[in-house]
Symmetry: C2
Subunit: 327 residues, 2 copies
């Protein structure tokens, strides 16, 4: 355990701002801790770091297992460090557990990238709820920014609501896809269309090029039926390859183009402000629900009341009124 | 004002079960009331009605203004009453205000249908929040079911999150679309793809048939990229006409086919159970948030804290912790 009672937030701030890897790791461990005293120290530390955050490009990446997320991140990461950028890679995986060896997992999966001095790779924090995992990752992202990383990649496995969660902490959200075994398109998860700033069809290499290109065209038609969030940006569909050198260059170019356009319209800064505020509210909600669940009278009644609602013996609103009455 | 201190829930229950229009109207007015004493009476009444609910087909309909929702509902409603069904039409429109004359509005828009003895048309309840409006509509739907209506149509204007809200109270959710002025497809709102059980392209009549048919094909391709919620039902895309007699018959057939398939797999009943439970939880959340907002220490601090978060002076989690500490 790195943390001791002698944790000094000020010292952590200095170390992080100097880009010391050991300090960054310690700062993140502090951010990830759920102990109340650590939370206070973390808040103080974050206050010291906040003035130095905000300068990175925050890029979220999702895709179902098998789509080649790790090789994509490695390919893009290497391209970026060779361009002279410092790159941090974070993960949001609510199903992972720290003890399960996911640190080793992530670093093994991205061996070449992990070996580079300009990269910092951090696996998903453990935590029972997606909310908890996402909260920690969000602050870890800020720590990395304060430490001078130019690009922060946040990878998510796309389980449950994790895409939505990652989409609300990044400037650009990329959905990675592949063509199926046959000529078939692999269906996109419903929630992803809501939040993707671009779709990239991966594995556009070798004898898969024609299929990937065909899939790209089909996706492009499909994307046209959806009214985009911003009138300045219609999410494009592109192809990429994680095994060819520079095979993800066009994706990076798209990210930069998006940043340029959105900065011009003011939407870039606006999106970040909105994200911060809605993040605050999400945490307030989470806190309210936690207090509710921790009420023992309520938790005892939940099974019976839920059962009555399911059997239509009482209406959902009468059930809610009863549960709230115990607060 | 229909309500008096002498409201007797039992009497309302009897009247509703006998299908008396006056009792139905009174019962709905009780359900729509926000007064605490009325809420208790409404809960008692709903308990009496619940055993008699669940037998209707609950059909939600959305579409942007101009898509022809009212004429669609009228066409479908007339078709259904002529088939011998009793039809109730409800609306969810968080922007409407009771005093604004929306009752008159709805009934004028659906003149032929409103005149039929087998129909019951109720405009959107007023209420500041979508949550409030949806809660009331959900219970109104149950009142109509208990009163013996075979089909309950819930129309929504598709503003904000109202689609999602209506989708969670119906068995089948239909998105109505039209082709644009040129050959262009009118973009579908992102959230609608998430929740639609079918898409119908309206105004497939006269010299618009070719355009509508072309749009249908394009939408069909587009819908293929989305992985459907249930493996037993892939949301179809069809065309319809609200001005031709029986012009919405195929939509109704689709609703019935869906019901048959989903009943067979058990998903029909499961969906309703899930809806009731998640509705209960939504109401609990709403109640928790209301208590939070009503706390005067909190409400006084919100503007300053929000401002600090926006300016990145404090982190969202520190802000949330502070707000929660006042509870």
């Amino acid at each position: 355990m790195i943390l001791t009672n002698g944790v000094d937030p000020k010292q952590y701030v200095d170390g992080v701002l100097q880009g010391q890897r050991r300090s960054i790791a310690k700062a993140i461990t502090l951010v990830e801790s759920s102990l109340p005293e650590h939370r206070k120290l973390a808040a103080t530390m974050m206050e010291g770091l906040l003035p130095f955050t905000g300068k990175s490009v925050r890029l979220g990446i999702t895709g179902v297992p098998g789509v080649g997320k790790s090789t994509f991140v490695e390919n893009l990461g290497i391209l970026l460090v060779e361009d002279g950028f410092k790159v941090a890679v974070l993960a949001v995986d609510p199903s992972s557990s720290r003890s399960g060896g996911s640190i080793l997992g992530d670093k093994t999966r991205m061996e070449r990238l992990a070996a580079h001095p300009s990269t910092f790779i951090r696996p998903s924090p453990s935590g029972e709820t997606l909310g908890g995992v996402a909260a920690k990752t969000r602050e870890t992202l800020l720590v990395c920014e304060a430490a001078g990383y130019d690009v922060v990649l946040v990878e998510t496995v796309g389980v449950g609501q994790s895409e939505t969660s990652v989409a609300t902490m990044v400037d650009f959200f990329l959905a990675l896809m592949i063509t199926g075994a046959g000529d078939e398109l692999q269906g996109i998860k419903k929630g992803v269309l809501e939040v993707a700033d671009a779709i990239a069809i991966n594995k556009c290499d070798g004898d898969n090029i024609d299929r990937a290109e065909k899939a790209r065209l089909e996706f492009e038609i499909a994307m046209h039926i959806v009214t985009p969030e911003s009138s300045s940006w219609r999410p494009p569909v592109c192809t990429c390859s994680s095994i060819l050198e520079n095979g993800t260059r066009n994706v990076w170019d798209t990210v930069l183009e998006h940043k340029k356009i959105m900065t011009g319209t003011g939407e870039f800064a606006l999106r970040r402000k909105r994200q911060s505020l809605s993040w605050m509210w999400a945490l307030v909600e989470e806190g309210l629900k936690a207090r509710f669940r921790q009420n023992s009278r309520i938790s005892k009644r939940i099974p019976e009341i839920s059962g009555s609602v399911e059997q239509e013996l009482i209406s959902p609103s009468a059930a809610a009124d009863e549960l709230l009455s115990y607060l």
